[in-house]
Amino acid sequence: MPLSSAIAASASALDAQRMRIEVAVSNIANAESTRGPDGQPYRRRDVVLSSTPVDADPFGGALGRAQAVGVTVSEVVQDQDAFRRRYEPSHPDADAQGYVATPNVDVPEEMVDMLGAARAYQANLTAINLIRDTIQRALELGK
């Protein structure tokens, strides 16, 4: 039934947006982490979203029927931008010139990203509710 695959598409988006929020939160949490497991400052993470058909229905696909397209987080990449530098000679991680390399995280940017993800999450939740109403109406046909 296509409606269940529509819900699956929306659910995959909920998953992906939640992941996006998690990544943004960990970026904000580590905005000042100057020492990671590799001894380097924290690098900003970013999710890569890609669309993927949710429905394993080759028959409908071959007929050109409306196929639900979901979304997945295909990978989480590290931002290769340069670290920020801050003059703080008393910091234990300061270099010979007294500069500390701090993570390449821009907190306002992460906040905006999080807002966008939260909006998208809400929209997909609304979609799920609307589709659920439709399924409910369909069930009423049997009464």
């Binding site: 409606l3 988006a13 998208a120």
Partner: protein
Amino acid sequence: MPEISDAAILSALGRQLNNAVAKQTTAASNLANLDTPGYRTRDVSFDDALDHELGDVRRTNAQHLAAPLGDGAPVEVQGLQSRRDGNNVQLDRELLALSKAAGDFSRAQTALTAKFRLVRYAINEGR
């Protein structure tokens, strides 16, 4: 006056249900890909399919098979503003499409229920 058969009404209503479901499915897919770079808004357009049927293809013999209607494949929507990442999904447009399709489904479902009620009435000899 030619009589419209029950079967024709029922199949038309059934088709309307299917169309509404297809519209909801594509709108849900578009919403899911709200932030996917490069994703283009897709839509199933049954009105276009009908115009195409009426305008270009006419059956010259009643025994010819009609092209399937109401089984529109999703096509890319033209004329939407793209964002910088190549995505052109508009949140309000898709939510509107979802609600509209839900209304269409409701309408057809109500009509079908009424139709079935009449049939049941006849089966029960008016009781």
